[in-house]
Symmetry: C2
Subunit: 217 residues, 2 copies
DNA sequence: TTAGTTATACTAACCGGTAAGTTTTTCTAT
DNA sequence: ATAGAAAAACTTACCGGTTAGTATAACTAA
């Protein structure tokens, strides 16, 4: 029962809207993002945008839900492919780094929500954030049970992972700093190696239980 | 010559404007912050705000410069009071945590600039950010020279410190999450202990050279 | 017919910035 | 010391432009 062509068109339009909205929200924040600009950027009439998605807040929530869900899928896939807790934590760091680099708009929205105290986050979105905290919690508890991780507050660990990954892997501000030419040549903040491997190195060493071996690299 | 009464008044007015502006910019971002709202909140007429400080961008830069300078003073004082590199890095983490908690508006502005890629940062501000990176760099190089720290990219270390501290010590989003009642009771993300000591524990262990002793706590 | 689509135009509210004029403080000349 | 000029601080009211959201009318394709 259904004109699948039309349904595909509908889904495709919605997709283009959400992608453009993610960019504009990321660049300018909720207040700074213009609905006209979003419509213009994805080649969709503004009225059509309201027809397909809804008002600005609804659009914003839809963008976040879509991105969080994709992120959770990536993280879960990475966790399932890893065997022991150490590998799982490394996999998580690498997955988070990948998400930051390949879906740059998303982490910028997260940063903005951290700044605003979640002013524009609806229940639906909060729920999904909490679910992702649960993934880190599980890894940490498995590691502690196996004796390879120290007994550390998993919520703080989660925040450290998120904050560390976003700060080290994010490109926009780093680009701005490098382009400003303010760094001395020998400081070379660009080409800082893979942030993911750096984080795996430092954070895993920081979390590891002393019994299970010290610094590897 | 000494129009000290008026000069004090002038300085005080400017101070009140900058304090209110910091809050409003932190809450709503550059685009979302209303000049009227800032004026209202500090009890200063809007035209007077333009008279004392300047337009919105000038005001924003003034807020950032003031907060970065204060932050650098706090960090430098903490570093000077510490003896060896390990103490210095711990002192830096504690100082950063204090800054996040006692001047909550500032780190929210930093988060917003990380999100926007420094879209509203003028040269004056970038310069100061780079100077703070230099503080971390110095500590790391001293530690490496003394053989107590591993050879890690100091720029990435700096980003990890900033990101880790802001993510773990920031209150606004955490409050929102806790108030949403989405966490199971046993997860208790509130009362997570002192984030500063948590970070000193994890990150210092992650950075320490294997030769200089392993996990302490 | 009907759902999707476009283009245009409208509204009501808001926002950054300014002009013009008033009051207060400080400086200066006598 | 004090009148009066000069400078600084302040208020009110307003302007031009933008924005979220809606309405309408015409068009397209299933």
């Amino acid at each position: 029962m259904a004109p699948s062509i039309q349904r595909d068109r509908r889904a495709d339009t919605r997709e283009r809207i959400l992608a453009a909205a993610a960019e504009v929200f990321a660049e300018n924040g909720f207040a700074g993002a213009g609905v006209d600009e979003i419509a213009r950027r994805c080649g969709v009439n503004k009225a059509m945008l309201y027809y397909h998605v809804g008002d600005k807040q609804t659009l914003y929530t839809a963008v976040l839900v879509r991105n969080i869900d994709r992120a959770r899928e990536v993280i879960e896939a990475a966790l399932e492919a890893a065997r022991d807790p150490e590998e799982r934590l490394s996999a998580m760091l690498r997955a988070l780094t990948t998400i930051v680099r390949e879906a740059p708009a998303y982490h910028r929205l997260v940063l903005r929500e951290m700044a605003s105290g979640g002013a524009h986050l609806e229940h639906e979105v909060l729920l999904r954030f909490v679910a992702i905290v649960g993934l880190t919690r599980r890894v940490m508890e498995e590691g502690r049970a196996a004796g390879v991780f120290r007994d550390l507050n998993p919520f703080l660990i989660h925040l450290l992972l998120i904050g560390g990954v976003i700060a080290t892997a994010a490109q926009p501000l780093r680009r701005r700093l490098v382009e400003s030419g303010l760094f001395a040549p020998e400081q070379q903040p660009d080409a800082p190696g893979d942030p993911a491997e750096f984080l795996v190195d430092v954070i895993l060493n920081g979390i590891r239980s002393p019994a299970s071996g010290g610094v590897v690299s």
